[in-house]
Amino acid sequence: MTASDTAPTPAPVARRRKRGKQTGWLFVAPFMVVLVAMLIVPIGYALYLSLFRDQLIGGNHFVGLANYVQLVQDSKFWSGFVRVLVFLVIQVPIMLVLALIAALALDSARVHAAGFFRIAIFLPYAVPGVVAALIWGFIYGPQFGLTGSFNSAIGIDLLQPFTPTWILTSIGNIVTWEFLGYNMIIFFAALRVVPTDLYEAAALDGAGSLRTILSIKLPALRGSIVIATIFSIIGSFQLFNEPNLLKSLAPNVIGTFFTPNMYAYNLSFAGQQFNYSATVAIVMGIITAVIAYVVQVRGTRSENR
């Protein structure tokens, strides 16, 4: 998906009337005004902030890249960064593979009541992340959660969702629960538009269902897998809601810099270090954009053969 695919071509004058050469702006301008105000300006402001420092003596003054140098050496930032990286390397593939299995099963036309399953598995997406974290927090809870019931039933504390060992898994489960159905729907919608004659041709060639999946369905899903991967990566790097809500249940495990986003938040709102917080936001934004871009380029490389 590149802009050049849609490059405006000079239309033949015969087909296009002279009127309305700039009419398009009438439609696009309101959106662009809000986009600039709500997206470009804050980014610019964050860049500006990241180059300054507010000091007790001398007040606000220009420090160049000092904030960035400090960030690169900041072990708190990197520990959070490595944590979300580990999280995404494990959680994203699990979630997407599960979503893929569900989408392929629904598309196979061999499932009873497929429409019902499709809606039901998609529903958790409509549950606010905060509510999802609250529900799972209750379920994990040793007090009146299911974990407590389970552990007392078998007599040992087998499940300990809030220990340092398991906390990432617990968060990963919440995130997977929220977005499994969402990704399933993306894949399913992509499978719906595969031309039928491809399947007929495959059947004539004697391809079984596994062969059909490998040779027709997965290639057809390629674009949507790339898009789902990019969104999941963006989401993982932004991880905030779930750990922030579980913090009260696991106060000694989830600290103030558990994820980069929590770090940025706490720098701003607990420490009043706005310049440094803006630096964290900028660096995370750059890293996310770069990784998303790499995934997109690699994922679509052989598509335009």
Binding site: R16, F27, L39, I135, S149, A190, I234, G235, A281
Partner: protein, 313 residues
Amino acid sequence: MSTLTRPVVPAPGARPGRTPRRIRPGKNDGSGLREKKSLPMTAIMVVFLVYSFAPLFYLIVNSTKSQDDLLSTFGLWFGNGFDLFANIRDVFTYNGGIFLQWFGNTLLYVVVGAGGATFLATIAGYGLAKFRFVGRRAVFAVVLGSIAIPGTALAVPTFLLFSKLGLTNTPWAIILPSLISPFGMYLVWTYAVDAIPTELLEAARMDGASELRIFFTIAVKLLTPGIVTVLLFSVVAVWNNYFLPLIMLSDPRLYPLTVGLNQWSQQAQGVAAHPIYNLVVTGALITIIPIVVVFLLLQRYWQSGLGAGGVKE
């Protein structure tokens, strides 16, 4: 996943300039061949279903319990009493009925924020798809670039900007950032490219219809599935928003439901702990019901809106 605004579902395979595809008519005919329904396949889906539904079941069951029952009875089955109605009454009367205020706030933010975002994305997507104008490619590049910008990276700078302008702790602090949906615009654009025949617009222009009239009479009708899809996901994004209001609002009377509920759940901690978990559980249930209903009512639209994004006849 903690996103400020989870982007809307992309139009699958929506890559302009690809080979034309044909959406298969009729029902879910899978591989286009007559397949026997299989029990093992259905069983796999049942596992997924149980996973997706268990927490919601937990929520429903536990909203019928009093605070005491909640702590003492098994989580996946009903308790000793049936206190659902008492809980609902308490949710709406606790703290002088603040929950209703939060509900109203959420509705306001959703109607103005998500409605505005959908409107802006729709007219811009249409303009980009059906007009040639100077700077079109630049607009395109900016929109595509901004899709990859994580929302939370913007939240802190936006907060600082708004506090300079005196906008924090006002409804505008939530509504203004919600108005922008680059992905919504991208979706409408891909949809409009296919759904609106340029010849139709030309014909209407020949008849002397104004551009605005053409848009509101012809384009909106043809774009409806795409618009509803964008609207639905904008509504979900605003309804579920937590990070932004958490940062922007200090007055509890301006909170949306998400921030309010979390404040209630925090009451169990601290020195003067007064847990009201039964209200948190019931409030959470009341919070998700409207959005689930909207989802179910509009499913016909988003299912076709999703599938048709990449369709070119």
